[in-house]
């Protein structure tokens, strides 16, 4: 069947560029002076500056990954690691400068805040420009603020948790992150407090040839519950941008955290993000992830199940189009008895894109009675795309149940034929099948975000099916 290959289409709202205006943009490159300057700009305490300098040293000593996508086009000498926008942190959208506010308006953030969120943070380039939370949560002792404020106002809590879940030496881009981090969110949910509506942070990178290195630190205390959503996007430029964020999640005994991500970086972005959660006794962390943007993505959220009876679920979809190489997956360590992990990963490749599912499930000696079930499915929409599945499973205990299954293939001709016989065009039939393929993920998202994800799928499908 002949296919119509169209050029990649305009990603409409996501590609809107504002003028590259900033209050301060640090010079390109990565040196001790630059790291010190970022720290100075932020008026940080010495302990944080020391963490940054130690991380820089670690970064210089670590080698680039010898696996995964080719990162040779990344030249840190061409990246500005800190861009301070022309706006201070505001508690009201009215105070946010018009061009920045318009961007978030078009992305639907203020509207979502009114209807379905308990709190919102919005980061523009390297700094958070807006942060607010409903008053009743404040009264319950919930803390939701930007990381810089947290360093100033809750230093002991930050010191105890910052770069402890994700050690600086984990890999080169974690070390880079710790050296130049800026922005991000800090959340603390006190014991027993259950948030009924989600909190959301949105990260927008506008400045060309720059990086975003936001840090998200969430502590859900015993018996508490939270749904946190992060979204990210950037307009497309000709040269590479870099995103090396870090997410550290602490889910205490009997607590619950759902962490949802809709990632839609521009297709010149290298997304080298790190996310990790540590779960206590009977705690649960669920990851829901939609990965659509980026030129290269290397992202493997990790759950460390340290408490007896801890659980984790990962539900994720990656959609790679022309010139995209999305190397995503999941990692779980079962480090206590009766822990469980469930993975449901899907990927779609089209128009020459490459999707790789890469994972690691480790069941340790002390994880008696643990269970793990992994399922991944890959769909290829044409014969110029690539789809790989590279899972590692390490079992160190006999009293466990582990299973892994993966499937790869194209849309079944029979199914298309059936739908066409019911009056659908071939395009609509294929789009319906793809949406059905993605449904297990979209159904896990709040309805507004499921709609956004379906829109993204429609957007991605245009030009691929014909």
């Amino acid at each position: 069947m002949a296919k119509t290959q169209l050029e990649e289409i305009d990603r409409n709202i996501y590609d809107i560029k504002n003028k590259d205006e900033y209050d301060y943009k640090i010079k390109k490159g990565l040196t001790k002076e630059i790291v010190e300057e970022i720290s100075r700009q932020k008026h940080e305490p010495d302990w944080m500056k020391e963490i940054r300098l130690k991380a820089l040293e670690t970064y210089n000593n670590l080698e680039m990954p010898t696996w995964g996508p080719d990162l040779s086009e990344l030249n840190m000498d061409e990246i500005a690691t800190y861009v301070k926008p022309k706006s201070k942190l505001n508690n009201s959208w009215d105070d946010v400068p018009d061009d920045i506010k318009n961007t978030f308006d078009k992305l639907g953030i203020p509207e979502a805040e009114k209807t379905s969120l308990a709190g919102v943070g919005a980061q523009y380039d390297s700094e958070v420009v807006y942060h607010s939370m409903k008053d009743e949560l404040l009264k319950q002792g919930v803390i939701y603020t930007d990381m810089e404020t947290a360093v100033r106002e809750y230093p002991e809590m930050v010191k105890e948790h910052f770069m402890k879940c994700v050690p600086i030496s984990d890999h080169k881009f974690v070390a880079l992150h710790a050296a130049v981090w800026s922005g991000g969110s800090f959340v603390y949910v006190p014991k027993g407090v259950k948030l009924e509506m989600p909190l959301q942070s949105y990260f927008r990178l506008n400045s060309p040839e720059s990086g975003q290195f936001e840090h998200t630190l969430i502590i859900v205390d015993e018996g508490a519950s939270l749904h946190f959503i992060e979204g990210c996007s950037a307009p497309k430029y000709n040269k590479v941008n870099l995103h090396a964020g870090c997410v550290e999640l602490y889910v205490r005994d009997n607590a619950y955290l759902r962490y949802s991500t809709i990632e839609n970086w521009s297709k010149n972005m290298l997304n080298l993000n790190t996310k990790k959660a540590i779960c206590g006794k009977n705690a649960q962390v669920d990851w829901v992830s939609g990965s659509f943007g980026s030129k290269i993505s290397m992202l493997y959220p990790m759950s460390i199940l340290n408490g007896e009876g801890a659980k984790t679920e990962f539900t994720g979809i990656s959609f790679a189009g022309k010139e995209q190489n999305l190397d995503n997956g999941f990692k779980a360590v079962h480090n206590a008895p009766n822990t469980s992990s469930v993975v449901n990963a899907k990927s779609i490749s089209k128009n020459g894109g490459k999707c790789t599912y890469r994972s690691s499930i480790k069941i340790m000696e002390n994880a008696e009675g643990s269970k793990s079930s992994v399922s991944c499915e890959s769909l290829m929409l044409d014969d110029i795309s690539i789809s790989d599945t590279i899972p590692t499973n390490e079992i160190r205990n006999d009293n466990i149940q582990f299973s892994h299954e993966a499937k790869i293939g194209k849309i079944s001709d029979k199914t298309i034929f059936y739908l066409m016989s019911r009056g659908l065009s071939e395009e609509d039939a294929k789009a319906m099948i793809v949406r059905g393929f993605a449904y297990p993920i979209s159904k896990e998202l709040p309805v507004e975000y499921a709609v956004e994800m379906n829109n993204l799928i429609n957007l991605e499908l245009e030009g691929a099916i014909g």
């Binding site: 010898t66 995964g68 790989d388 599945t389 590279i390 079992i395 299973s403 892994h404």
Partner: protein
């Protein structure tokens, strides 16, 4: 004593996962070899020619360059087997390690001519309890419409080192059924590569392994599908007891152009102790849209309910366990037509589980 880095996966993953290759320290790679004499060949007609001259063998993967060089430059046994009969007849080569034959470095080159049928059994036996060294290469080419069964049985002891590189090329409408019974070796390291290049070419790879004591098994199976409507099925059934450790790396690679190809991979590991360790990396690589690929991998104990059921029928725990494991292995063993060989393998399984 050498330090060897062997069995690289075709695609690397994170170094932290400890699966990209296997490093072995203190391996004695013998330099000067005397002829390996304790070899029995059941069928010695024009089909088998024992060659003294050394033809260089090139492998796309193999265990590593140093071990391949050893085979090319100083092998002490070399056999070239040409199948030219349309009637299936078994050929068996049996290598017996004893006090006078402790080192075997061999190359076996098999060519199955067009439209032939054949079964080749290659066995590595331990006749005396010696610390043996085996480094071998088996290469098979199945010409169009041929059908080849190859059965490799490793019954070396747990003191020895077993290194084996296998490469198959499968042409149009040809089929290779490959069976590996992997029991022996302190270190048993196997690299298997199938180039499934023909239209309708078919490769079935069935492995059983049973690791005990401190045995280390590293299995790196790679199947590349190039031919339209070609197929690969990989079935691996294994059991680990004591402190045994197994790495299974299975790659099915659908290359561009292999339209309507199919590939299935299933790996199951039964753990009989809480100190045994199993690592699996079942990979699916795909550059062609119109294919179907599946893999599955599982690990755990023998199902307690089934075990209990068998015990209610009068079996003690150990015998019930043996029965369950035999049943798992039988799925593969029943495809081996030689009943004597099958029974011998089953006996060995019982002994190893005891």
């Amino acid at each position: 004593m050498s330090s060897l880095k062997l069995n690289e996966t075709p695609v690397r993953t994170s170094r932290n996962f400890n699966i990209n290759n296997i490093k072995l320290d203190n391996i004695s790679v013998p330099k000067c070899l005397k002829e390996f004499k304790n070899v029995n060949i059941s069928e010695c007609s024009s089909k088998i020619q024992i060659e003294n001259t050394i033809n260089k063998i090139d492998l796309k993967y193999g265990l590593d360059a140093e071990l391949l060089n050893q085979v090319n430059e100083s092998s002490n046994y070399r056999a070239s087997i040409t199948i030219d009969s349309k009637v299936n007849k078994d050929i068996a080569i049996e290598f017996n390690f004893d006090n006078s034959n402790t080192t075997l470095v061999e190359a076996i080159d098999i060519v199955a001519s067009e439209a032939t049928k054949s079964t080749i059994v290659i066995r590595y036996n331990e006749k005396q309890d010696v610390e043996a060294y085996h480094n071998g290469v088996i290469r098979a080419v199945a010409k169009s419409n041929s059908n080849v069964n190859i059965i490799v049985v490793n019954m070396m002891n747990e003191k020895s080192n077993n290194f084996l590189s296998i490469e198959n090329v499968i042409e149009d409408n040809a089929k290779i059924n490959f069976y590996i019974v992997d029991f022996g070796g302190k270190n048993s390291i196997t690299n298997y590569y199938a180039n499934i290049k023909g239209k309708n070419a078919d490769n079935k790879l069935n492995t059983i392994y049973l690791g005990k004591d401190n045995q280390l098994l590293d299995l790196n199976y790679i199947a590349e599908l190039y031919g339209e409507k070609s197929n690969i099925d990989i079935e691996v059934q294994g059991t680990l007891k004591d402190n045994a450790k197994k790495h299974f790396k299975g790659t099915i690679d659908f290359k561009k152009g292999c339209k309507k190809a199919t590939g299935n991979e299933n790996e199951n590991c039964i753990l009989l102790s809480d100190t045994a360790r199993s690592i699996a990396l079942p990979m699916l690589l795909c550059s062609e849209e119109d294919v179907e690929g599946n893999h599955s991998s599982s690990a755990g104990r023998v199902a307690e309910k089934e075990l209990f059921y068998i015990m209610t029928r009068g079996f003690n725990y150990k015998d019930a366990m043996k029965l369950m494991i035999r049943a798992k292995f039988n799925k593969i063993l029943e495809q081996i037509k030689d009943e004597n060989l099958r029974n011998e393998i089953l006996e060995r399984i019982d002994k190893r589980i005891d």
